[in-house]
Amino acid sequence: MAGLALGAVEARAQASNEDIVLGGSIPLTGVFAFAGVGIHAGIQDYLKIVNDAGGIKGHKIKYVAEDTGYKVDASVAAFNKITSQEKVTLYYGDSTGFAKTINPELERKGTMIMAGASFASELNDPKKYPLQFLPGPDYTEMFGILMRHIAKEKPGASVAFVYSDTEFGRDPIAPGEKLANELGLKVVEKIVTPPGSVDVSTEVLKLRRARPDYTIFHGYVLAPIPEFIQQAKQMGMQSRFMGTFWSMDNSMVEKMGEAADGFMGVMPYRYYYDKEGTSPMLDKIRQMRPEYQSTAYMQGFLTAMLMTEAVKRTLDAGKELTGANMKASLNSIKDFDTGGIIGVPISIPGNSVPVGRIYRFDAKQKQMLPASDWIQLGT
């Protein structure tokens, strides 16, 4: 009898301490693999830190991921597989397409919250996507941060947008133009390039005619940004060239060669090598991985951190781990210290973390270095 009772107690203890599962559709192969590998490592490392410290209220966090090759059908397959084998509470998705496709299922299940590699402005709508969030500013907000910086540095400056003809590329263009007008900037040219285009000479000529003070690239990872900048510089253009998150990784910018010098852009996270001030999390990362880690790594790391924080706050409040409860806990995050991953305390009032900083590439140090203070939108 006593044995039975003991068994029952043990079983309950086990149930209350069951693992919390973070599932992931991760693009470890395919066109987005460079980011997927970093994201995968970042999530794993943060969860290792949490689990080594005893987990959240005794719950360990288990990471179950599948490779998707950056294909929506494979991502959905991974989601179905993982959610049918585990009781998933947190999920990481790999693309805008996946985030949109899985949203009805996410709401139907109501048991998890999700973030991912997409910063699509469309997802930054708590009404349409109540159980998702973006671990940084959306693409429109990135444009907002860039243009605020421009307006401060050179009021009334002229700006050109160069973007790819994809959902990713077109995302912030219309709202970006509106914002430029509000900030007193002039959008003098908008150039759209076909996805994967390499020869950009005619586009560069078009850009030269417009003579913008600033040129913002969006919707690319690397090509054709270097070709663009090189040709423009050869023609004696004085424009400053800028990028958004996915074209801002240090190793990527380094690959641009000569074109990289002076390349600027918006980055919501601090770089691996940034030693300014106290940053316990960056110190830990450098301790765990002595070699450079990409900005995608930081993205995965911070996503895991924010998700874990949402779980912790929900459990602290004595609430059940449902999607709605966790999202509410996530939205209660105010002036949260990320341990140096982001340089200022952050808040998540809606679906995004609208904060970022302008960095500029220094060819001598071969590093992206801060060129502005942290810019917080909506303040």
Binding site: Q44, D67, K81, Q85
Partner: protein, 346 residues
């Protein structure tokens, strides 16, 4: 074992399945397909639906490329036309799904006929390039037309059947699997008719076919229309399955996927389209399972083995092409022949 099949009439000679054993196996397959949603988990039902959609589309391409000998790399774009048609109808008109699917098929068939016009002049690789050109135009339209929602695409509500929302794989299975079965059966029977045999005649020698009195333009365009109809319905099923259609949903690589599927499976056989589509869809997933089994022994097997998995998949395709150019269907036939004479000859 069996020593032969006795056929006493032309009808018996033309029949799809000539022995009782085949009918028994077919019945078993049908029963297992009916039972699948009751025994399998959500992941396998999802995969079954995905395979079924790919089988429908690959069968369509097989009619065009495998049976008529017209190489097309536009299958994915045709699926896009079907998917967008279904999405637009579902969002704007709200017609029932079976009408939407039929309209999607018809719409895609008419696009297919237009794309097929160059096929009278050009063949082989030239036609393949012409179809790539057509799919580029279609992609441009998808991405820039207001009706198709531009680059953001369309998100659509689920299909409804007597008030039941078909919003999950285990419900959609009852739509996707029967439609695919019907389409495959239709394709198999097509080649018992004059039209189907005309396709084969054109594939084998178009000049001879013309001499025999087969109108080339009309027959080639019929083949394009039928193939596109299949792609359109498959695209429509795809739209109901994922419920988000964007210009990036049907890239050119998907057309290559379907072409690879019928080559690996066996061109010009219905079984080939089925086996090829199943192979191309399931093998990457099975390889993922293998990686999963290795995880206890290899730390972080996922990230270490992901690239190797891709290489293995590619190597498997190359291997099949070298060792069995006639595809999986031929391997299947060989297995069957083995059992026909077993145990007397092995």
């Amino acid at each position: 074992m069996r020593i032969g099949t006795l056929k006493l009439s032309y009808a018996a000679d033309e029949s799809l399945f000539d022995t009782k054993v085949q009918w028994v196996w077919l019945a078993l397959l049908a029963v297992s397909l009916v039972l699948l949603p009751f025994v399998a988990g959500p992941y396998w039902i999802y995969m079954a639906c995905l395979v079924a959609i790919n089988v429908a589309s690959a069968t369509g391409l097989n009619i065009l490329t495998g049976y008529t000998g017209l190489v097309s790399l536009g299958q994915a774009a045709f699926m896009g036309v079907g998917a967008y048609t279904v999405a637009v109808l579902e969002i704007r008109v709200g017609t029932p799904f079976f009408i939407n699917l039929l309209v999607a098929g018809a719409m895609t068939a008419s696009v297919g006929v237009i794309v097929g016009i160059p096929s009278l002049r050009v063949k082989g690789l030239y036609l393949a390039i012409a179809t790539i050109g057509a799919s580029m135009i279609l992609h441009f339209v998808f991405a820039h037309w207001e009706l198709t929602g531009g680059t953001r695409g369309l998100s659509m509500p689920p299909a409804h059947f007597f008030g039941i929302a078909l919003d999950q794989p285990h419900k959609l299975y009852w739509l996707i699997m029967p439609v695919t079965a019907l389409m495959v059966l239709g394709a198999a029977n097509l080649f018992r008719t004059r039209v189907g045999r005309a396709f084969i005649a054109i594939r084998d020698r178009d000049i001879s076919a013309e001499v025999l009195g087969i109108p080339l333009l009309q027959t080639k365009l019929t083949s394009f229309a039928l193939s596109s109809f299949y792609a359109g319905v498959a695209g429509g099923l795809w739209a109901y399955f994922f419920r988000v259609v964007t210009p990036e949903s049907f890239p050119l690589i998907n057309s290559i996927f379907y072409l690879a599927a019928i080559i690996v499976g066996g061109m010009g056989t219905i079984l080939g389209g089925i086996l090829g589509a199943a192979f191309m869809t399931l093998v990457p997933e099975v390889l993922k399972l293998v990686v999963g089994w290795l995880t206890p022994w290899v730390p972080d097997a996922l990230s270490l083995l992901a690239p190797i998995r891709t290489i293995v998949f590619g190597a498997l395709i190359v291997g099949f092409l070298i060792f069995e150019p006639q595809g999986l269907a031929e391997i299947w036939q060989r297995i069957r022949r083995f059992f026909h004479l077993w145990p007397f000859r092995t």
